[in-house]
Symmetry: C3
């Protein structure tokens, strides 16, 4: 595939990914990852200081499924809407079979009776496998700028 085709495919994967999250179809979220994929939400501060502490960490699709069950069972939320925008999708290079793709994202949150606000902004650093079953994340790092998170960050981004 050319660089252009890779970017196109990566954009399509990201488009479907954020639509899944925006529509709160969390049960489908693990399907965007390969079996042994790593998913990590980590602050930009921690990345820059080499602190490994992550806000959310999964190192397999099964762990992601457990996470979704936990969110559904344990969490009581006031109703809110999330809306992701992703831009500046860049294919940066390769790591083994995977392509490294960076992009910028912002998640907007609308709580009942409140204005729409920035919930979280940052960068996706993804390793994507372009296989027979369509592209999958082999690793997805969500590196967020936002330090003060309005409400708890318990959902995937």
């Amino acid at each position: 595939m050319t660089n252009r085709e890779l970017r196109f495919e990566a954009e399509e994967l990201l488009d479907r990914y954020v639509q899944c999250l925006d529509e709160d179809r969390l049960e489908e979220w693990p399907d965007f990852f390969s079996d042994k994929a790593v998913y990590k939400i980590i602050s930009r501060v921690n990345v820059e200081r080499n602190h490994p502490l992550a806000t959310m960490f999964c190192d397999s699709r099964d762990m992601m499924k457990d996470r979704v069950v936990a969110i559904r069972n344990a969490s009581v939320f006031s109703q809110r809407y999330l809306r992701h925008l992703v831009s500046n999708v860049r294919v940066m290079g390769q790591d083994g079979d995977a392509h490294i793709v960076k992009s910028n994202y912002v998640v907007l949150q609308t709580m009942q009776g409140e204005e729409t606000k920035v919930f979280n902004a940052g960068q996706y650093v993804d390793k994507i496998i372009f296989g027979d079953g369509g592209p999958k994340f082999q690793e997805k790092l969500v590196i967020y700028d936002t330090i003060q998170i309005p409400g708890l960050l318990v959902v995937p981004i």
Copy 2:
């Protein structure tokens, strides 16, 4: 056309569409639609609850033109700037001659003497006809997350 070409054409239509609105060229706004097109701004809450009540509704290009005249004649606004960002443009399938295209948008508003704020965020669900005269909207649903709208929502989005 391939899926990739369809997305490219849809993106170009959306780019021109939001530029028209950002530059307040409302008189050109109906030209983005086919004759009998439907334009609807409706809250996500109402869509989810199957309430048909729309915030703005037009079912022909003539009705859109009337709307623009009404906005120009009747409305007194304090000066403000709008800025649309659109991302995650996805060709979802076909409905008759039209292609269904979903995308996420945010409109930022700058009022005199105030910081730039999120005015409205949500999803475009479009049916687009790719005809000889270039692509046109046959239907455009603006499904907005934002419940508290800072100022009245009287302009198209």
Copy 3:
């Protein structure tokens, strides 16, 4: 190059450009411009009223380099993160050797201990040269909607 290829190349240039700024690699910022390039940050109000007064103005790459040195030496900032999103990239036409490309941007700012906010939103109006050494800006106008800027605007956008 076809219009589609031009847009693709312009998007890649913009992607690299904003990543450079987001990662605070200011020393590399002038490299995105040709030797005699013009860089201007100007308010939308001033553009509309034909006031030439710019918030930042450089008319050569050397002047940009001086600017970066000045920022590094003179400025004391509280730590903050910036995050650019760019959308609606449109190739509008040609001006001599350059292609005119417009896009919408938003810059989100995260200050220590604060929520992420809109720092600046507006439009890029670029003249891009597609030469042997890769695409470069021959002119970049940053026309911003945002009037109330939270903190001083001393960095390029």
